[in-house]
């Protein structure tokens, strides 16, 4: 049964067995109780301020304007992951795949690095290479691509558990990516 996931102008329909999280990197701030009722740009009440630097996962720096990070995977995403999946990739089996969508700030829009338009959703096994990984783990291969969509600058980072299962995993990733939409902020 598919499941919907959305936040900060990004939405996706997760295929069977896939789970995900769309989050903003925690910015170190105060930890007063007043901040517990802070309101996020989305209008939702938020615990971000309270979580502060004690929250698991990647932590930004004071004054940072955090951007969304999307993690989609066909395995149990562990808490405390890094933005690009550190802490998760070392738990992957050969049959697992991880998709990361990392948004950069508006100053990146229009830069040559992000000249490619649109979120890729027809990846092929030969796009994946071991040296594209943030940290090389035997058997795993990765793919990274910078692009702009809806006036927003992103990088797509995909890790496959093994080259042996690359055709199946790539098809599964493509189904997930095809169901992912990015709207203007």
């Amino acid at each position: 049964m598919s499941a919907s996931l959305s936040g900060w102008g990004i939405s996706t329909q997760l295929p069977d067995g896939w789970e995900g999280r769309i989050s903003l990197r925690v910015t170190p701030t105060g930890t007063t109780h007043d901040e517990a009722a802070a309101v996020a740009p989305s209008g939702r009440r938020t615990l971000r301020a309270l979580a502060g630097s004690s929250a698991p996962g990647a932590v930004g720096w004071p004054g940072e304007i955090p951007n969304p990070v999307v993690h989609l995977a066909n395995f149990a995403l562990p808490p405390g992951r890094g933005d690009f999946g550190s802490g998760a990739t070392d738990r992957m089996t050969e049959a697992n795949a991880l998709i990361v969508l990392f948004e950069y700030g508006p100053e990146s829009v229009g830069q040559p690095l992000f000249a490619s338009q649109g979120l890729p959703h027809t990846l092929r096994p030969h796009h994946f290479r071991a040296n594209a990984l943030q940290r090389q783990i035997p058997g795993q291969v990765g793919f990274q691509h910078f692009f702009t969509e809806a006036g927003r600058a992103f990088t797509l980072f995909v890790v496959l558990g093994s080259t042996h299962h690359a055709p199946t995993l790539t098809a599964s990733c493509n189904r997930t990516l095809a169901n992912t939409r990015i709207s203007p902020r």
Partner: protein
């Protein structure tokens, strides 16, 4: 004369043993009746399910906090539902419990429940919770509107997923907190569910329901390595780079030229 004395003594011993056996049988029957009552059964054959604890006193919680119902036997046909909600950092979360290669233990807790305090504390302790290999623990609270944000931020245990989802409470028909549901990932069925005064009690329940003693006894074989070292290393590198004024995208991060925008075939992929 001696033979008569021996026979009398033997008779007395037999009578004493008979009394002892009868007492044990009665005690055993009483224990069975109380266990049956704990399972929500009908202790007196009156057709009324048990609503009291083993001591005969109603289960009490603090005012305004709903008390847990009697422990329920998992319905083997009960299908597990995925957990969809909000994370502690205002993130949107979907956690799969069915059709996956791992099992999930859902701990439904709240910030205002006194009994839950022990669970929060156990979960925060590195040695507080034993889980079988390939089993994930997820704490589920109600939505933020129904919880205390400040207390929740304080109680949230590091290294364990906490999801705010009143929908999950409704999906699993949670009668009150604390309440624990074990889901078999392969079949997508609820293996067992119930409550207790401590995680230790619940772990015993889970061990019974799943037949897995790893809830009670540490099994270090094949357990996944914690990712903290990776995360700490990445955070340290980020801090040092930022302190040196190197921001994301800085050209110095790419000594061999820009990142592979033009990876062969990528153009085809878009």
């Amino acid at each position: 004369m001696i033979l008569t004395i021996v026979v009398v003594v033997e008779a007395l011993v037999i009578v004493a043993l008979a009394v002892l056996v009868l007492g044990l049988l009665r005690s055993h029957a009483d224990i069975l009746r109380r266990l049956h009552a704990l399972d929500g059964g009908d202790p007196d054959g009156t057709g009324v399910a048990a609503t009291t604890s083993a001591g005969g006193q109603p289960f009490q919680t603090v005012p305004e906090i709903p008390g847990p119902g009697p422990v329920r036997i998992a319905d083997p046909k009960a299908a597990a539902k995925d957990i969809v909600g909000q994370g502690l950092t205002d993130d949107s979360v979907v956690i799969r419990t069915a059709g996956v290669d791992h099992d999930t233990v859902l701990a439904f807790l709240s910030t205002g429940c006194l009994t839950c305090q022990g669970f929060w504390s156990d979960f925060a302790s590195p040695d507080g919770v034993l889980l079988p290999a390939r089993t994930r623990l997820v704490v589920v609270t109600k939505d933020l509107a129904e919880e205390s944000p400040a207390v929740l931020a304080e109680l949230a245990p590091p290294g364990i997923d906490v999801v705010l989802s009143s929908q999950a409470w409704a999906d699993y028909d949670v009668p009150g907190s604390p309440y624990v549901v074990a889901v078999d990932g392969a079949t997508g069925r609820v293996q067992g569910e119930g409550t207790g005064m401590s995680w230790e009690q619940v772990a015993g329940l889970l061990a019974q329901a799943t037949g897995d003693r790893a809830y009670l006894v540490a099994d270090t074989s094949g357990r996944p390595v914690k990712p903290e070292s990776d995360v700490e290393r990445e955070a340290r590198v980020d801090r040092e780079l930022l302190a040196a004024g190197v921001l994301p995208g800085d050209p110095s991060l790419y000594p061999d030229g820009p990142p592979p925008v033009g990876v062969p075939g990528v153009g085809d992929a878009t």
